[in-house]
C-alpha cells in the first residue's frame, strides 16, 4: 500500500485529495489529509464581512464535508516533516510515514513581525480583514466610524489575493457613499509597489479607478512600524501616513511547521517548487500546491484550482515511476469586486493571448451622457480583462 499524505485540508488539500482519490485505487494507495483545525474558511468572503455583506460564521464549514469517501482525515497539528525518513510527526505524537507528501498548508498572517502592529490600537484603530476575528472587529469599528483618515495598507509582499486590498478600497468607497458620509472620509491606499496596478493591461484598463473614486495613493511605502496610539504608518525610509482607522494586510509566512522542518522551506516558510510540475525542489517525493509554494504566481484560490489538475497528474506519474509532464502555465481567473453591484473578471491567459474586453462598458470607461448609477441598484456587469500569464524570465507576480 502506497501512502499519500496531504498537509492541509483547505482549498488545495481538498481538491488534491479528491482528484487523487478519483483516479488511484483505494486498495493500492491510501490518502490521508491532515489539518490543525476542522474549520475551512472561505477566505474570499472575508472581504465582505466588514461591510455587513457577509457574516464570518457563515464562511466556515467542517473540512470533512468536502472530502470524498475513501480519504482518511485527521485533525492534528503538524509538528514537523522529516524529509530523510519520509515521516510527518503530528502534535499528538502520531507519526505518518509517506511515499508522497503534498504540502497544502497555505500561508499564515504574521502581524507580530511589524513593529507596533499588534501593540496599542490593534483591534481598535488598526485592523485586518484577512482573518475572521479581524474582519468581525473591523465590522464593529466601521459601525462606529464617524469619519476621518481611512488608510488601507499592504505592508509587504507576498500576500494572499493581491487584488483584495484594492477591492476593499472600492467597497469602502461604496460603503461610505451608501451611508452619506463619503465626504467625511479620506481614503488612502498605501502600497510597497510603485503603482496600484503594475501589469500593463490592468494598468491601462483599471488605472483610473482610484482617482475616479477619490481614493488617494501612496506608493513605494514599505511599512516598518505601525503606531496605533498616534495613528501613523511609518516607512523604513522615514515617511509617515497618518490615520484615524487603518486596515492593513500583515506580512505572510508559510505554515510554522515548514520552518521547523529542516530543509523544507525558504526563509519565509514557503516551499521552493518547480513552477511547471509542482514538484518541490527540496525532495522529489514532495509536491506543493497553493499558497504554500514559493512560486512567483498569485496566492489565490483560482491558481490553486488550476494547479490541482497538474498536481494530480504528476503525483500519479511519480507513483508509477514515469517522468513528470503536465505543465502548469500560471493561468488563473479572478473576479474583482468594484462595488455598486459591479464586478470585473480578470483572466490570466497563456502567453500568446492578446488582451481583450467585452463590448459592454464598465464603470471606468468614459461614456459621455451616461446617467450616474444609483448605488446598489446597478445590474451586475462583468468585463473580461485578459492578460498573458508571465512566462520564464518575465517579471512575475510577487
Amino acid at each position: 500500500m502506497r501512502r499519500i499524505v496531504i498537509l492541509g485540508g483547505g482549498t488545495g488539500g481538498t481538491l488534491a485529495a479528491n482528484r487523487l482519490r478519483h483516479t488511484l485505487p483505494p486498495d493500492e494507495v491510501a490518502i490521508t489529509v491532515v489539518d490543525r483545525n476542522d474549520g475551512h474558511v472561505y477566505q474570499p468572503g472575508l472581504l465582505f464581512v466588514p461591510f455587513g455583506l457577509a457574516r464570518s460564521g457563515e464562511l466556515t464549514r467542517p473540512r470533512g464535508e468536502q472530502l470524498h469517501p475513501g480519504i482518511d482525515y485527521l485533525v492534528d497539528p503538524v509538528d514537523r516533516v522529516d524529509l530523510a525518513s519520509r515521516r510527518v510527526s503530528l502534535e499528538s505524537g502520531h507519526v505518518l510515514p509517506y511515499d508522497v507528501l503534498v504540502i497544502a498548508s497555505g500561508a499564515v498572517l504574521a502581524p507580530e513581525e511589524t513593529d507596533g502592529l499588534t501593540g496599542v490600537g490593534w483591534g481598535e484603530k488598526t485592523f485586518t480583514f484577512y482573518d475572521p476575528t479581524g474582519a468581525d472587529a473591523l465590522a464593529a469599528a466601521l459601525d462606529r466610524f464617524v469619519g476621518g483618515r481611512f488608510v488601507v495598507n499592504v505592508i509587504d509582499l507576498p500576500i494572499k489575493c493581491p487584488v483584495a486590498p484594492l477591492e476593499f478600497c472600492f467597497l469602502a468607497d461604496w460603503f461610505f457613499r451608501q451611508s452619506s458620509m463619503r465626504d467625511q472620509v479620506e481614503i488612502t491606499y498605501v502600497t510597497p509597489l510603485d503603482s496600484a496596478f503594475t501589469m500593463p493591461v490592468a494598468s491601462r484598463r483599471l488605472g483610473g479607478m482610484l482617482t475616479e473614486r477619490d481614493i488617494a495613493l501612496v506608493t513605494e511605502f514599505n511599512t516598518g512600524e505601525v503606531d496605533g496610539a498616534g495613528g501613523r504608518l511609518v516607512s523604513y525610509d522615514g515617511r509617515e501616513v497618518p490615520f484615524d482607522l487603518a486596515v492593513v494586510v500583515p506580512v505572510h509566512n508559510g505554515a510554522a511547521y515548514v520552518t521547523r522542518s529542516e530543509g523544507l522551506g525558504d526563509a519565509l516558510g514557503f516551499v521552493p517548487t518547480d513552477p511547471h510540475t509542482l514538484q518541490s525542489s527540496v525532495s522529489p517525493d514532495v509536491f506543493v500546491i497553493g499558497d504554500a509554494a514559493a512560486l512567483p504566481v498569485s496566492k489565490a484560490g483560482s491558481v490553486t484550482h488550476f494547479e490541482g489538475e497538474v498536481l494530480a497528474e504528476n503525483i500519479t506519474r511519480f507513483l508509477a515511476g514515469e517522468p513528470l509532464d503536465a505543465s502548469y502555465d500560471g493561468h488563473a481567473n479572478c473576479f474583482i469586486e468594484t462595488g455598486f453591484s459591479k464586478a470585473m473578471h480578470r483572466l490570466q491567459l497563456r502567453r500568446r493571448a492578446a488582451a481583450r474586453t467585452l463590448p459592454r462598458p464598465d464603470r471606468g470607461s468614459a461614456h459621455e451622457g451616461d446617467p450616474p448609477e444609483p448605488p446598489g441598484q446597478a445590474p451586475l456587469r462583468v468585463v473580461l480583462l485578459a492578460h498573458p500569464a508571465p512566462g520564464p524570465g518575465d517579471p512575475r507576480c510577487a
Binding site: 513581525e113 509587504d156 509582499l157 507576498p158 493581491p162 487584488v163 484594492l166 502600497t191 510597497p192 509597489l193 510603485d194 496596478f197 503594475t198 501589469m199 490592468a202 483599471l206 513605494e220 514599505n222 516598518g224 523604513y236 525610509d237 506580512v251 525558504d266 526563509a267 519565509l268 521552493p272 513552477p275 514559493a294 512560486l295 512567483p296 504566481v297 498569485s298 480578470r346 508571465p390 520564464p392 524570465g393 518575465d394 517579471p395 512575475r396 507576480c397 510577487a398
Partner: protein, 105 residues
C-alpha cells in the same frame, strides 16, 4: 525599450532603466547604474545584495520583495535602506540587472 551604452557595453533598457536582458549585465554596468541612482561606490555589502538578487532571479524568476530580501540575504532591512536609500527591492534589482519586481494586478 531603448538601447544604451553602459560601461562600454550595449544594453537594452526598459522605460524605467531596468535591463531587459539580465544576460547583458556586467559588474562594471552595475557600478555605472549605481552612480545613476546616486550611489557613489559599491561596498562588499552592496555586492552581497546584488549577487543575492541575481541568484534569486535565476532561482525563482523574480527579484524578492524587501522583507524576503532581508531574511534571505542576511542584510537587515534598515541596512538595506542605508545601502540603497530609495527603495532596496527596486533599486538593488535595477543595479543587479534583473527586471523590476512587480505585483500581480
Amino acid at each position: 525599450m531603448t538601447t544604451d551604452t553602459i560601461a562600454g557595453v550595449d544594453v537594452d533598457l526598459d522605460e524605467e532603466g531596468f535591463l531587459v536582458d539580465p544576460g547583458q549585465w556586467t559588474e562594471d554596468i552595475a557600478i555605472e547604474l549605481a552612480h545613476r541612482e546616486g550611489i557613489a561606490s559599491l561596498t562588499d555589502r552592496h555586492w552581497q545584495v546584488i549577487r543575492f538578487m541575481r541568484d534569486e532571479y535565476r532561482a525563482k524568476g523574480t527579484g524578492p520583495p524587501v522583507r524576503a530580501l532581508a531574511r534571505t540575504s542576511g542584510v537587515p532591512i534598515k541596512e538595506l535602506y542605508e545601502l540603497f536609500p530609495k527603495g532596496p527591492a527596486k533599486i538593488a534589482a535595477k543595479i543587479a540587472g534583473i527586471p523590476k519586481p512587480r505585483g500581480c494586478i
